[in-house]
């Protein structure tokens, strides 16, 4: 092997190692798995990650951006998830109670069969908007780790309060839920 070929080979090997190190650094710095939930847990109030997804309750798409100015309770769920069945009547009640004040509950059905989700919404008589995210494209951005999980978004489109992991309306998180609704509405 000539000296020149050897130098080129070494340069290529170094370039490959540097690329791999760069990818690793990028993943560590920008590819964190915590999503918006991690920032929320650190005390920040990050912008709610945007999405535009097809609706299950009716035709067409729903964009989170179109709800700017509303207080939101964003609930991630799936029809096969047992605690999701227990919490939906409570979410429906929240929607009915605060709707006049400008609060919208948004259900995001993820990693689920579309038909199962439709049956679920009919069975529980849900009237709040529900979108379908079968591929789970929103989960990483929001930092969802399981179902159900609930977030609160204020009228400026920022996450507020605490993320509620697991079903709402149980002793463990009732207080956090009420606080989240108030923060989203902007009421003291």
């Amino acid at each position: 092997m000539t000296g020149r070929a050897k130098t080129v080979g070494q340069a290529l090997a170094l370039l490959m190692v540097a690329s791999l190190l760069g990818l690793l650094a990028w993943k560590v710095v920008w590819g964190g798995d915590g999503g918006a939930a991690a920032a929320l847990e650190q005390g920040d109030s990050p912008a709610a990650p945007a999405f535009t997804l097809p609706r299950i309750d009716t035709t067409g798409d729903l964009s989170l951006e179109s709800l700017r100015g509303k207080a939101l309770v964003v609930n991630f769920w799936a029809s096969w998830c047992i605690p999701c069945k227990d919490e939906v009547p409570f979410l429906q009640k929240t929607y009915e109670k605060y709707r006049e004040q400008g609060l919208v509950v948004v259900g995001v059905d993820a990693q689920d069969f579309r038909q199962d989700a439709k049956r679920f919404t009919k069975r529980f008589g849900l009237t709040y908007p529900i979108v379908y995210d079968g591929k789970g494209s929103t989960l990483g951005k929001w930092g969802v780790t399981g179902f159900p999980e609930t977030f609160f978004v204020d009228r400026q489109g920022r996450l507020v309060g605490e993320r509620i992991v697991g079903g709402v309306d149980i002793d463990r998180n009732r207080e956090a839920y009420d606080r989240g609704v108030k923060l989203a509405l902007g009421t003291p």
């Binding site: 096969w80 998830c81 990693q111 069969f113």
Partner: protein
Amino acid sequence: MRLTALAVLAVVLLGAAPALGGGRPNPADLEAEIVCPTCKTTLDQSNSPIASRMKAYIRERIAAGDTAAQIKAQLVDQFGPAVLAEPPKRGFDLLAWLLPIGGLAVGAVAVAALAWTWSRRGHDESEPQPLDPDLERLVDTELARFEE
């Protein structure tokens, strides 16, 4: 004799029936090729609620007469391409198949080139090299003295 022939024919036809059915999909095969979206293992390795639902769906669709390709396409439509244990052999996903093969080929060429270089170097070193004239003279002197 005729009865025996008919019996043999019936056995042959019954044995061939699955093959004549156009390759009706086997649920176990599909469960090994589809990934559970929540646990990231193949369906046959998972008992999670969504995996159980997907297994039931596969059986429903097989009973309805769908082919394996149709069932996979329906699952990809619902859950995205990540639901396939193996990436499709087309488009951008083809890279997942080609890159490892390309890497192996490049590695093989590199090893072959190195082996060829080393073998040549060994061959070159085996050929006798001319001695330094001073050293040769010294060796001759020493040999002559030894023979005396």
